[in-house]
């Protein structure tokens, strides 16, 4: 029960921040901050892929309907959710995942988080900007957007985790 409330609050918070604040910012050089994949990443380990796909699709459509992108966020977030179990499997610790833990930076460690979330977020960003421009002659601009936006979004996601994730008590 507690978990459901926690994840719902994150869902709302990230949706609102993304659609009302970050999607309105103009930084220049084609940089755009995308932090909403963090919600899907922080879902519990034992959650099935299908509920995760449905959740991510819903979140994407809500962001789309507010920022007039008609399916762009939904498509890239479903891709993120679909690839999450694949990447988690590749980087799983030797004894498997502890289902009591949450996949955040504090409980799983910096190294694990940087690899898994980094790869997923990079694919997400690339897919997002690829679909957005969708022209072969703009490939360098797509790469520029991806390479510049990705580190900033990543840093932002770490910062936001400090705000919304409870740190485990030091052992």
């Amino acid at each position: 029960m507690n978990d459901i409330i926690k994840h719902s609050v994150r869902f709302l918070l990230l949706t609102i921040i993304q659609s009302f604040v970050l999607n309105q910012l103009e930084i220049g050089l084609g940089i755009q901050l995308l932090i909403y994949p963090l919600f899907v990443f922080l879902l519990p380990f034992e959650l099935g892929v299908i509920p995760m796909l449905v959740l991510s699709f819903t979140m994407g459509i809500i962001i789309d309907s507010i920022s007039n992108t008609y399916g762009l966020h939904a498509s890239s977030l479903t891709l993120f959710a679909y690839l999450r179990p694949v990447i988690f499997k590749t980087f799983s610790p030797r004894e498997g995942y502890d289902v009591l833990k949450e996949p955040n930076i504090f409980e799983m460690g910096n190294r694990w988080f940087i690899y898994t979330f980094g790869i997923l977020l990079f694919i997400h960003h690339f897919w997002f900007f690829l679909l957005e421009m969708f022209r072969i002659d703009a490939i360098f601009f797509i790469l520029q957007k991806t390479l510049l936006s990705f580190p900033i979004s990543f840093a932002f996601c770490i910062l936001i985790q400090m705000l919304i994730v409870n740190k485990p008590k030091s052992r």
Binding site: I27, V54, F57, G60, S65, I66, T69, G71, F141
Partner: protein, 282 residues
């Protein structure tokens, strides 16, 4: 046997199938929406999104308040100077008033931009007026400084504008002193610059000559500023220029707009539909 195999197949690939289903749905709406908006419910013209954006705008509108009111004041000054009381009579005598000489052709519906983006490949703005105020799909939108776009879809109290920062906006424009016309495009990168492509390079176009709307399709009245010619780019191997223009409106701080209602549009369209279709196809 076949059914069992089918069910086993579906169970095995159910995750992938659901993923594909969601992707196809998202991508098909994304790629068809640009040209064929089917419903208002997935846009910011819907009731809930509209209300929320309105509330947000209540907070953020103060950021540009000073600039907006300065522009309004300038506009006021200009219009006030045109009032009869600002003119001195040069000649005494009877004045013939003939009311049938002028007919109102365009009406303007004032509105406010409550949501906008400028960094996307296709940018849409949300207005706080809808069909209850008379806004319909296909009407032109402009601001005090220049052209903004065309209404894409409207609900009762809100509407979404396909802005000139959209790839296939295709507004009729003309380059002022020589009267050359073309279609306005945008390359998806710089919110300050647009382009007119396919201009024959034997024409002498001066830098910083004005670009204004041409009332060809009846969407905009003649002469609303679009921008100024900034650069002429040669296209390799072809005798044409891409004309880069700098927009006169800064879309990043856009707030007040007007929607154009052409009272004679129906008449124009009726007349133009009488032009026979391409005869070569027959």
């Amino acid at each position: 046997m076949f059914m069992r195999n089918l069910i086993a197949f579906l169970r095995r690939f159910q995750v992938f199938l659901i993923f594909m289903l969601l992707q196809i749905f998202a991508l098909s709406t994304y790629f068809t929406f640009l040209n064929f908006p089917r419903s208002q419910y997935m846009t910011s013209a819907s009731y809930v999104s509209g209300k929320m954006l309105n509330a947000r705008n209540e907070v953020t509108k103060y950021v540009n308040l000073v600039k907006t009111s300065n522009i309004l004041q300038k506009q006021n000054k200009y219009l006030r100077e045109k009032l009869p009381m600002s003119y001195i009579r040069m000649e005494n005598g009877w004045v013939k008033i003939n009311d049938t000489l002028f007919h109102q052709q365009y009406e303007y519906i004032p509105g406010k931009v409550i949501n906008s983006t400028v960094t996307r490949a296709n940018n849409f703005f949300t207005l706080n007026i809808g069909w209850a105020q008379g806004v319909k799909r296909g009407m032109g939108v402009f601001s005090d400084k220049g052209v903004v776009g065309i209404i894409h879809i409207s609900s009762e109290h809100f509407s979404v504008v396909k802005s000139v920062l959209t790839e296939d906006i295709n507004i009729d424009v003309q380059i002022e002193p020589i009267g050359l016309f073309g279609l306005l495009k945008w390359d998806g990168r710089d919110p300050r610059r647009g382009q007119i492509s396919g201009i024959s390079n034997d024409l002498n176009i001066k830098r910083w000559s004005k670009v204004v709307t041409r009332s060809g399709s009846g969407i905009f009245p003649y002469g609303i500023p679009v921008g100024k010619v900034e650069k002429l780019k040669t296209v390799e191997g072809k005798p044409i220029w891409d004309v880069i223009i700098r927009y006169s409106e800064d879309f990043r701080t856009l707030q007040r707009v007007y929607v154009v209602r052409n009272l004679l549009l129906e008449e124009q369209q009726k007349l133009e539909s009488l032009i026979p279709e391409d005869e070569e196809n027959e």
